[in-house]
Symmetry: C2
Subunit: 300 residues, 2 copies
Amino acid sequence: MGNDIDLNLYKVFYTVATVGNITKAAEELYISQPAVTKAIHTLETNLGGVLFIRTKKGVTLTEEGKVLLSYVKNILTEARNAENKFNSLIKLEEGKIRIGASATVSKHFLMPYIAEFHKMYPNIDIEITNELTINLISDLRNGYVDFLVTNLPTKEVLDMDITVCAKLHDTFAVSEKYLKKEDKEYTLNEILEHKIVTQKEPSNTRAFLNNYMKSNGIEFKPDIEIVSYALVTEFIKAGFGIGYITKEFAKQELETNEIYELKVTPRIEERELGIVTLKNSALNYAASKFVEIILKDINK
Amino acid sequence: MGNDIDLNLYKVFYTVATVGNITKAAEELYISQPAVTKAIHTLETNLGGVLFIRTKKGVTLTEEGKVLLSYVKNILTEARNAENKFNSLIKLEEGKIRIGASATVSKHFLMPYIAEFHKMYPNIDIEITNELTINLISDLRNGYVDFLVTNLPTKEVLDMDITVCAKLHDTFAVSEKYLKKEDKEYTLNEILEHKIVTQKEPSNTRAFLNNYMKSNGIEFKPDIEIVSYALVTEFIKAGFGIGYITKEFAKQELETNEIYELKVTPRIEERELGIVTLKNSALNYAASKFVEIILKDINK
DNA sequence: TATAAACCATAACTTACAGTTATGGAAATC
DNA sequence: GATTTCCATAACTGTAAGTTATGGTTTATA
């Protein structure tokens, strides 16, 4: 788009045209009168035609100048709109965040951050996509979401950046309806003598469990498999057997003793919750701020 | 319209955004790469936000940058349109001329100039308004026409500029049907013994005639008064009496001897045809050119 | 009918900053 | 491992956008 004209001269032109007086225009522009005179002359030279008729009372537009002015008005309003728009985007006065996260993570982890963020920036729209991690990853690649918050580890993420944002602690848990509480440390075999309730594959949590079993030399097959993580806890509460859950996502049930944790050897390793973004990309200002709010809590 | 941003930076921004590569953008803009880098940085600083994500393969727009680009595209196309429009106006590739002139002047004086002009600048529209001079003058004041071509003198023109563009020679003329041709000089009284055909008031020609009569002490009352100048000649041709006409506007009839001139004492003074424009205004480029074409013939 | 005020144009001078060259570092490519 | 491709930075330079000072011309004012 090979524009040859110095666009800044149009600002001077606009001011002179509207006040009809070079001296007053100079005041308005906070520059000297000769500077304005020169600017107009330069513009006329560059455009190759006369823009103003100089009278003793000021200046008036030529017919061609009037035509030019109508274009210049558009240019300047559009420039002003551009600035305003950009400004309100970076000031988070408008905009949108699209988060990808499982229903569980959304409910037990994101909810308070969303509340906090929404209170700070009420005009930013928040869109949450709940799906399986594998689907979320393709949503991220396709640009349907800005970032994911998901259980780690997550495979196939060479083109993504991962930032740990919380530690998760998995455990076996059970209701007293099914098994009386004892202050003992269970072996894995003792656990497996019972009915086992877990999430159905594919799922990060289930993959983590499978891996734990395998590394302890166990070919594992649960008795009850459920797609929805939320239902796993419900099944445990109802006394269907021992379930595999994440403590952070079952705080309430554990605190009220509806279910209790079973200590087990070997110990189940710590797991992480991560923020996943596309490499060579950048979050918009709103999403950045949201992530920042999440991360300020890390290691608490 | 207080735009704070240096609009020229948008040209750089646009180029960088479209080629996605600062080095290539620099080539395209015929400036050095560091100049582009700096320009983008300045723009980012002025706008208060990041526009590009710098990768090792080039640069890509941030989300906010993309939004800005959509505005910038509009700005630059409008700027380009402005230049093009202005250019074609001053090059007379488009435009309009609005001339005010009597039917007589249009037919006998303007016609060849219009033909010439139209051949040179076929895309300029020409609009001719035929009215009495008094009406034309108000048309000019109201901006309905660009300039007038009219018989002089014309009163009430303090706010107008007049340029003489031709000399006119009035005369008494008659057809042999009415009066046999004699090689003699008539006195005014001899003329007035006959039926007199003239234009009806108000008209510049008639005013000139009245004035001529008055300065010779004659209370003048014509026998046949006609609004249309063209018809005056027709009435003379038809033998209704002696008519008062302008030689330049009856060339054909005089040459073919349909009517002939009556020499009279005292001599009728030369009159002028003038181009009338508004003071403190200016003709558009097309109208200027037209006037120039008329004036190049002056004093021939 | 001087006198002052209002405007734009011009000249000569003074920066500020848009441009330059030179160079470096870091990743992608061969 | 060498080369190329990019962007960033630093230090320098020249132009052109700004300045002040002044003049001429018309309009308003005393």
